[in-house]
């Protein structure tokens, strides 16, 4: 793609400076909606654009905004900047390099939601970034792009940054809200969904950073322009985070539906050290592994196509695995990640990730047999579909798919611990 819509700093390097952003049409979209459009208009445009959440679940943003219950105030907008999925580093680049587009997106979303207060929940590790964002927000206040009665209209807004303190689960939207309220970041029961009862029990829109960054261009250029990019059901551009055994890891902004092959070989420069590609994790640790077959490599990266081949797009973080890697080692790595990050609230995830980890340890120490791999598989199967939030399912689906698709790697590890 010639022009960057989200990673605009790649075309205009200084766009993180407010005057540069403004001179490139920055905050025109906010001004337009505040002065000329009703909140419902904005919701409609975003719905028509087909924009789907970029945080992982791919839920249509406009539809979510439409769920806010009538007449209940105050409402809040919370931008999910917890970005902790292994292999995901797109929100960070957006916020570091193109922060004002993101902040404008937050503001437009707040207008649509009629929220006067928006929070950005940054993972605690983004300490420096959070402080930068705060100073950007201070600039916006100074320029009267945030504050009372924006653009002479009856719309007031402030944006504040909240820092997490190290917990992957806080990316899950209800755990995030609990955490923001000063509690353990453990997911809440859903329903009620945050749109109905979110932060402080009030209607709340939670969206991913990238999702919100899509909003200003949608307003500026229209829903039709937007849904002409990507596939029919997965519209628009997507920032893919490419990592692992690949020549040029990094973020790549490409239309949804771009093939793995194109991302990995054309943009990412292929596999280094003369190795060949073995497998792909299309969504960090959170979606089933895919063997790098021709069919898989030629599959478009969009929500529907990936589901069809037995995985998920998630947040679009593609981890490339070369043929030197034993998948049982990889599965152990991911399982210990989930064991470490399980919030502990629900039984299957808490106990299941622990049990699986123990089997992996035995496998590593040469204390396990092929039967233990069957046990591992059965433990994983018994977690599936029973957890309170998706983390447990992520953990189980990983192991199930790893075993199903790379059983021989497990057997090899059972034999020699490698």
């Amino acid at each position: 793609m010639a022009e960057h819509i989200l990673l605009r700093h790649r075309d205009i390097p200084d766009i993180h400076e407010l005057d540069v952003y403004l001179s490139n049409g920055g905050f025109d979209a906010l001004k337009l909606v505040v002065q000329k459009k009703t909140p419902q208009d904005v919701i409609d445009i975003v719905r028509e654009s087909g924009l789907r959440g970029r945080g992982g679940a791919g839920f249509p943003a406009g539809v979510k905004w439409g769920f806010l219950p009538q007449g209940v105030f105050p409402r809040y907008v919370v931008a999910n900047a917890d970005e902790s999925e292994p292999g995901t580093f797109k929100d960070r680049e957006i916020m570091e390099r193109n922060p004002f587009q993101f902040l404008e997106g937050v503001a437009i979303c707040s207008y649509a939601a009629q929220a006067k207060l928006a929070y950005i929940y940054c993972r605690g590790e983004f300490w420096d970034l959070a402080h930068e964002l705060e100073s950007h927000i201070a600039e916006l206040r100074k320029e009267k792009l945030l504050g009372r009665k924006l653009f002479g209209k009856d719309f007031s807004l402030d944006i504040r940054v909240h820092l997490g303190a190290g917990a992957y689960i806080c990316g899950e939207e209800t755990a995030l809200l609990e955490s923001m309220e000063g509690k353990l970041g453990q997911p809440r029961l859903r329903p009620p969904f945050p749109a109905a009862e979110g932060l402080y029990g009030q209607p709340t829109v939670v969206n991913n950073v990238e999702t919100l960054t899509n909003v200003p261009p949608i307003i500026n250029r229209g829903a039709n322009w937007y849904n002409s990019i990507g596939t029919k059901e997965s519209t628009g551009p997507k920032v893919f985070s490419l990592s692992g055994n690949v020549e040029r890891p990094g973020n790549y902004e490409l239309p949804l539906g771009t093939t793995f092959r194109k991302l990995i070989f054309e943009h990412g420069g292929g596999i280094p050290n003369g190795r060949s590609i073995k497998a792909i994790l299309p969504a960090g640790a959170s979606a089933p592994i895919l063997p790098a077959t021709k069919k898989v490599l030629d599959t478009g990266m969009d929500y529907e196509s990936l589901r069809k081949i037995g995985s998920d797009l998630g947040s679009g973080s593609v981890i490339v695995v070369d043929d030197s890697v034993n998948i049982a080692w990889l599965a152990q790595k991911i399982t210990s990640f989930f064991k470490h990050e399980s919030c502990g609230k629900c039984t299957p995830c808490r106990e299941g990730t622990y049990w699986m980890s123990r089997i992996f340890e035995n496998l590593e120490n040469g204390k396990a047999t092929s039967e233990d791999i069957d046990l591992l598989d059965s433990v994983a199967q018994s977690i599936v579909g029973k957890c309170l939030c998706a983390l447990g399912d992520f953990a189980a689906a990983q192991v199930v798919s790893d075993i199903a698709r790379f059983r021989s790697d497990f057997d090899a590890r059972a034999k020699d611990g490698k």
Binding site: I169, L184, L189, R350, C387, L388
Partner: protein, 838 residues
Amino acid sequence: MSQALVSLTIDGVEVTVPVGTKIVDAAKQAGIEIPVFCYHPKLESVGMCRQCLVEIGRPKIDRSTRKIVRDKNGDPVIEFGPKLETSCTTPVGEGWVVLVNSERAIEGRRQVIELILTSHPLDCPICDKGGECPLQNMTMAHGPGKSRFLYEDKMHLAKHVPLGDLIFLDRERCIQCARCIRFQTEIVDDPVIAFSERGRKLEIVTLSEPGFASYFSGNTTDICPVGALTTADFRFGARPWELNATASICPHCAVGCNTMLNTRREARSQGRVVIKRVMPRQNEAVNEIWLCDKGRFAHHFASSEERLARPVIKLKRRGRLTATTWENAVKFVVEGLQAAHGAVLGIAGGRASNEDLYALHRLMDGLGGRAVLHDQMAGGEFVQQAGVGPGTNLADLGSGDCILVVASDLHEEAPIWWLRVKQAAERGAKLIVANARPTRLDAHATHILRYDYGVAAHMILGMLHEINHQKELDQYASAETKKVAKVVSKANNVVVFYGSEGLDYAASHDLAQNCATLLAASGHVGRANNGLVAVWTHSNTQGAWDMGVHPEPGGLAAALKGQKAAYVVAADPAGDEPLLTSLLEQVDFLIVQGLFLTETALAADVVLPAQSFVERDGTYTNGMRRVQRFFPAIAPNEGMRADWEILSAVAAAMGIDSARPSAAAVMQDIAAKNRDYSEVNYPALSRNASQWPHVGGKDIYFGGTAHPNHQGLGVQLTPRVERQKDISFDWAAPRKIAHKPRYLMVPITKLYDRGTTVVQSQVLGPRLEILRLYVNPEDAERLGMIDEGEVEVQWDGRKQRLRSVIDEHVPSGAVLVPRSLGVPLATAVDVKIRPIAL
């Protein structure tokens, strides 16, 4: 109130339940058990243990027409989701088909229980919960035969972690259901335990000082579905199946919680039967399934080694006490009483049962004397007239209703009422808390009123003014009283709790009278969930009033004037008030019935050992005027008799009355004589009805180990306004406060005092209050006092040295001293305070 209903089928059984009912409860009502761990009917659903998974089928809806799709027979097409769902979080839906015992659901739950067991030790034989453990039961019923998880792979954790003085945690046994944490946060607002860490390391911690010291902590051991939480009192004390259970009523406060006494013969106690633990017994109108820790842990006095075991007499005043037979003792009593020629005074305490009090009253009547209550708080007659009537349940109060609490610190005086009032406020009831100082209930109040100690009754008149607009009341009205009076008059239902903090007999009388008048004037008497409740200091004070035994305005000192004999039952006036000792010694003949050799007993001519409430039967009438029965749990020592029995024997010997054969017979007399009690008899008191939630039975995991109530819910008395339409209420012009003392020393109530019934608890020791004088910071400065310094207080010609604590919650001009800790103070007095230089 009619509620919309929903019909669905659960395992083929058609059930119809109110909208919003959770599937798990609907199933329960249809007799279908769904195993649960984290779910508890008294707590918000969290759906975290995932044990209650079921299959749910919903009628298929056509997206375009939004109508139910039907098959060719016209039956709705049912669609089942891809996942099992938690029945504890899902409210029922019309036409749903729920499968609890389908293969898929059973397999799903089996997997979850297997996962739970990966961490849980299989040490049932040495676990306190063994025999009443939901996890044990469920593993038997639904679990895998043997573990696929290797024992050596288990996480090994600390097994005897004291969370506080009363509760221990076994970290290995905890299954992280959070029932205890949620109970502490949601129900009792004492978030002193919480989860820390995460994943498999998730653990219960307390970082509070002094740890898990909530007044309700024992309840967490009931609702813990495994043996992770145990009480310091019972842990490793006995196995549940060795225990006998006897229904009882808690003797510690005016709430009258229903309890079950678990007893066992014990070698350590020379083969005697002893109380091993006190458990809550369900009575949804009284204590639901809860108990406060005092009720649970202060039972040891009953089995004390110091109990009186044989009658003793003193032949000459100040002579030696000599043991004698009951026959002799009664003869001796009869002679003494005869010699008094009618100049006799009965003195009773509010812990005596209705039967005892009636018998005392009857005896005194027959002798031409009278019986009085050793107490300072008045107003029982207004509770008789305008008390809350049949059908009352604080659980019914909520939005649109109002509760007024005046001159009482409910959290300390009647913890379960505090809890239930708080919950009513959370359901939307307006809560007005009026007291001279802040109390814990303030946190839940919609309106807080402050007044100077002593003028509570004036404040109520201010409110009354807003309703009856009488000119004489102008002087009491203020913007505040106006505002809260509006809240009262607008409310659908109003309950008033009045106490006596800082009030003497006269002032509490006025307060009760004015509260009753306010209730009547605003139309809040004579209906369920409306009326006056007295926060008495003892379990049966209301019963005493009902039996015609009440305090007199001048107190015991006045009543004792000119008396030749005194007969003390279940009271220790000399212990409470040393000044009374000489007055008691001045009567020619002093008879004392009781459990212990108290100060009063030491002054007596005859001391008669009484049975405690655990050794006999009888009834108490609680502050809401519910008459409730307790049963003998332990065979008494042969030398002890029930109070009523002794009194009845004396009356018979004196030809006043024939001896009564049983407590039940005494109750028949009461019913015959006392119109209010005409419906009361032992069979009626033993009636019960089905209650929700179901507790006990084989599904103990559902409500915890609280006992079901098969022994009776008691009888709620009808207030007189409901019967006598001509009762009218008038307000009492409050007495003028003569002068405002510089410093008023006010006795306040603390739950864990050092009264005889509490101090003997083997486990409450470290939790007992310490005697301190609480002083406001400004007063302290003016007096030159330091925190934790020593002061001398002087009042009524007495002097005492005390440690002082500076506390901003103390109103200025007042100093507070907890009752029953060593300062003999019945009511507020003028004091002089002098700091003692170090």
